[in-house]
């Protein structure tokens, strides 16, 4: 895939070529010889870094293009994408290569703009200046005509945002998910910190005698705290270094998870000074914050107490602080487990939604007739040929053609009005289709008729609307025979049929008005020449076959090539795969929340195990006494397990309301889920309870195997 960019694109980013040269202004001029820049990854993976690629000619959409150079290593374009561009081509080559007419149309909005601010220029005044230019540019546009248009033009403004991490729109799209992941990571960090604090506490208590000796030998409290803090910091620093190694291995795993199925990862997970600094700083802060309390406790050692031999008292188990930290971990883990449960439930709900379409034995073939050189007047005949040739393939049942298909994240829309109802304008999406399209995607006709071969360019303009649009305009009345169209020409199309509400752009976008128009028909009011009408080009063929056909992709390629050798397959997928692609983000979030939930559970379990083990070790003599007094092994197991489960239970008691409260912060990312389902809560609670049980059972069993004679001898 290629991206069209301006001649100063690479210069704006301050990039240098890896080999050859990058684009310059003279390349981006109409009529200039067409050149392209190849991405470093494509050069390496497809051509093994062959230097002769530079200067060689490639054929792009039947036109010769010279490779002028290789983009720098690690440059993946101006946005985060699982399919970063393989080639960068000048914008001015678009009309030739892509056969599109909107490049110089001031009414069309299709470009992203990056700028480079001169040193010392303040963003505020610059924003004002650019806003004024945009207003000036847009003033003659028909979009801003009339009183309403002028009001809108007055409000039109530009917002400049830092471009260092890509296009703002993309960041905005993923912002909520990224924020959620940051919060989840923070919670996991908190659990890990609680664990570290517990370990340091245990260490501090175990070294009480050592500290007592030091105190008895004259060490000042300040000196002891200083020593323990230094040890904590050193430990934190070394842990931070070890953590970095784990982090880089983990980053690759996370990237593979996020860009699942991508051939190449569009991010270089190489060490950056900022990340290194942040990680080390965080580990040092953790060391100081969580090292202070244990250091203070150890420094409180009373030499006389600790050095007295043959203590007659039994040692108590873990301190309240230690138990409190375990409770905190359990509570936070539950919150994360509930989160993981909610996002998994969300994914399952979305995947099992009735999309009002049929995906079985359906294949989506994306094509670009424009790029193959087809002009608008040739299209009607071309479409008939396509339909005939594909029908000639044995096993092919229906051949649908459309501008785009359901669940491919595409949307063409405009305002609509019913003729005779001027006050009621509704936003709706539209798709242009051929007669067999509805059958091919499995959309059911519920009233009127479908399109026929008679609905040609010259025939009366007709439309089929979906149930939602019918309700929006006509409530329960019969819509057939009414006319709808753009607000300035509401009589554009006569409604001849009504179909079910098939989900198009996203499963989350339901109850959305849609209308369908025959492939070659244009609104009555359209004034531009048909030759320049981009809307006449089909973007996809939908094939319905009688049975699963393994060879359908090769048959499709062969059929298209037999029609026109330049007509290539842009993308071939089963309908099922196309639908599954729409759940990628939801799957990623579900996987990541489960990963973090699992990690939190593991940390909390390790924490509980640690504290319980410590308790058992401290209470060895007590356990010995109890056993000497007749306690059975089972009663010892129960006693230790009860204590562990009590901590987990208090954690649950705190975690459950917190999890219920936190749902409000993630419900915007969930589909029709506003509360924690009883099943999700039960599974989360049971998971934590089982993990806590196992974490407690191991030391409990160890406690039960205490040899009372030996335990008493230790006293």
């Amino acid at each position: 895939m290629g991206e069209f960019v301006s001649g100063n694109y690479f210069r704006t980013f301050g990039l240098n070529p890896h080999a050859g040269r990058l684009l310059n202004d003279s390349d981006d001029v109409a009529g200039a010889p067409i050149v392209a820049i190849m991405s470093y990854d494509t050069w390496q993976s497809e051509y093994s870094g062959d230097p002769s690629i530079i200067g060689s000619t490639f054929w792009v959409n039947t036109k010769p293009v010279t490779i002028a150079g290789i983009a720098p290593k690690g440059f993946y374009g101006d946005r985060l994408s699982s399919t970063p561009p393989n080639f960068y081509l000048p914008i001015e080559s678009m009309p030739v290569l892509a056969n599109v007419g909107y490049v110089h149309d001031p009414e069309a909005n299709w470009l992203y703009i990056f700028g480079r601010v001169k040193p010392g220029v303040a963003l505020g005044p610059l924003q004002e200046k650019i806003s004024a230019i945009v207003k000036q540019m847009k003033a003659p546009s028909k979009d801003f005509a009339g009183t309403r248009g002028k009001e809108l033009l007055a409000k039109t403004h530009v917002v400049l945002t830092p471009g260092g991490s890509g296009i703002q729109e993309m960041k905005g799209q993923y912002a909520s998910n990224l924020r959620l992941l940051m919060i989840i990571s923070g919670l996991v960090l908190l659990i890990a910190c609680a664990n570290i604090a517990n370990l340091l506490l245990v260490r501090g208590m175990a070294r009480k005698t050592e500290m007592s000796v030091r105190t008895a030998l004259g060490a000042m409290r300040r000196r002891i705290i200083g020593q323990l803090l230094t040890e904590s910091l050193l430990l934190a620093f070394l842990s931070g270094l070890a953590g970095l190694a784990v982090a880089y291995a983990g980053t690759q795993m996370l990237l593979r998870m996020v860009f699942n199925g991508a051939e190449r990862l569009p991010i270089q997970a190489s060490p950056s000074p900022i990340v290194l600094g942040f990680a080390l700083l965080l580990s040092l802060i953790t060391g100081v914050v969580f090292g202070i309390a244990p250091a203070w406790i150890a420094a409180q050692a009373q030499p006389a107490d600790a050095l007295r031999s043959g203590t007659r008292a039994t040692s108590s188990g873990a301190s309240l602080l230690q138990k409190g930290l375990v409770v905190l971990q359990a509570a936070l883990s539950l919150v994360l487990l509930v989160g993981a449960g909610l996002f998994s439930q969300n994914l399952s709900k979305l995947q099992h939604m009735d999309l009002k379409l049929e995906a079985k034995n359906r294949y989506i073939v994306h094509i670009n007739p424009q790029a193959a050189g087809y002009m608008a007047p040739q299209l009607e005949a071309f479409y008939r040929t396509l339909e005939d040739r594909f029908h000639a393939i044995p096993g092919v049942k229906k051949v649908g053609l459309s501008t785009y298909t359901p669940m491919e994240d595409n949307n063409w829309g405009n305002g609509l009005q019913v003729q005779g109802q001027p006050a009621h304008v509704v936003g709706a999406s539209f798709v242009k289709t051929n007669p067999e399209y509805f059958d091919s995607v499995g959309t059911r006709l519920i009233a009127g008729r479908g399109f026929t071969t008679q609905d040609t360019a010259g025939a009366p303009t007709v439309t089929i609307i979906n149930r939602t649009l019918s309700k929006q305009f006509f409530k329960d009345a019969n819509p057939l025979g009414h006319h709808i169209g753009f607000p300035e020409s509401p009589g554009d199309y006569e409604i001849v049929g009504v179909v079910e509400d098939t989900v198009y752009q996203s499963v989350r976008w339901t109850d959305h008005g849609m209308y369908f128009v025959p492939m070659m028909q244009r609104p009555l009011s359209s004034k531009g020449p048909a030759e320049k009408d981009e809307g006449l080009y089909a973007g996809a063929i939908v094939l319905q076959t009688e049975r699963p056909m393994d060879n359908i992709e090769s048959l499709t390629r062969r059929t298209l090539a037999s029609i026109n050798p330049n007509l290539s397959v842009v993308k071939f997928q089963t309908f099922d795969a196309q639908i599954a692609d729409q759940f990628t983000d939801d799957k990623t979030i579900a996987r990541l929340t489960m990963l973090f939930g699992g990690l939190a559970l593991l940390l909390a379990s390790v924490g509980l195990y640690g504290v319980t083990s410590y308790t058992v070790a401290r209470r060895t003599s007590e356990i010995g006494i109890r056993m000497a007094l007749g306690a059975e092994r089972s009663s010892v197991v129960t006693m230790i397990l009860r204590s562990a489960m009590l901590q987990a239970g208090i954690g649950l008691a705190i975690g459950i309301p917190v999890a219920l409260f936190c749902v409000r912060y993630v419900k915007s990312q969930l589909y029709n889920i506003t509360n924690v389902d009883a099943s999700v809560m039960t599974i989360a609670v049971m998971t934590l309870a089982v993990a806590a049980g196992l974490a407690g059972l191991i030391p409990a069993r160890r406690a039960a195997s205490t040899d009372p004679a030996q335990a008493l001898r230790m006293e």
């Binding site: 007659r312 108590s316 000497a628 007094l629 007749g630 001898r713």
Partner: protein, 227 residues
């Protein structure tokens, strides 16, 4: 009451085997007050642990009231010990976070005795040992002698037929030690068989029979003096 035949006990110390009890043959009759003496490391406490059924790593034969302990599994031994044996420790071994009454109640809770019955037993014992006023105190609030008094009360609350005491006065001063030994004498007079381990000749005099261990062997038994 107790018959030990050819009983031996050893510990592994690296590649070596360290013997602590060698071919012990000992009969303890019901109502006896036996004192085990000997230097440190002679095997006194090891023998007491065997008698208490806290240790089951020994070899040989051990009959308790004609029941073959050597043929019992660990659970059966625990059950028997729980019902028939009480134990007093040198370090008292009271649980610090339990009150005096709760410490007394502790062995009863392991015998599945109903709560009301347990309360009655605890009340009787507090009364018998004249520590009613101390029932809500924690061990750290008691003197050493008082703690050992509670320790003995706890050991006999379930009316064991055998009371084992490991250096019961080792941590007490002489006046307290005397009181404790008088208590043992009284319990023995009431029918409880007592086996005590002690270094003190004075304490040994409270007993009816003394055996002396040396390097794990029975060196002297006043019931069977050397010819």
């Amino acid at each position: 009451m107790i018959e030990l035949k050819n009983l031996e006990r050893s510990f592994r110390a690296g590649h070596e085997e360290l013997w602590v009890l060698r071919r012990i043959a000992l009969t303890i009759r019901e109502g006896e007050f036996l004192t085990i003496m000997g230097p440190s490391g002679a095997g006194k406490s090891s023998l007491l642990n065997v008698l208490a059924m806290l240790d089951d790593q020994w070899r040989g034969e051990f009959f308790f009231e004609d029941l073959p302990v050597h043929a019992m599994n660990r659970k059966q031994r625990s059950d028997l010990a729980r019902r028939r044996i009480g134990m007093v420790f040198q370090s008292y071994h009271l649980l610090d976070d339990l009150t005096v009454a709760e410490n007394l109640d502790l062995p009863l809770t392991y015998k599945n005795i109903p709560s009301k019955e347990r309360q009655a037993l605890v009340a009787d014992t507090l009364d018998r040992f004249q520590i009613v006023g101390k029932k809500d105190l924690f061990p750290s609030q008691l003197s050493g002698g008082q703690q050992q008094l509670v320790g003995i009360a706890r050991a006999v609350i379930h009316k064991p037929s055998l009371l084992l005491a490991d250096e019961p006065t080792g941590n007490l001063h002489s006046a307290q030690a005397r009181e404790i030994m008088e208590l043992f004498r009284q319990l023995n007079a009431e029918g409880t068989t007592i086996v005590q381990v002690t270094h003190s000749e004075t304490n040994a005099e409270y007993g009816s029979r003394t055996i002396e261990l040396r390097d794990g062997w029975i060196h002297l038994d006043t019931a069977n003096p050397p010819a």
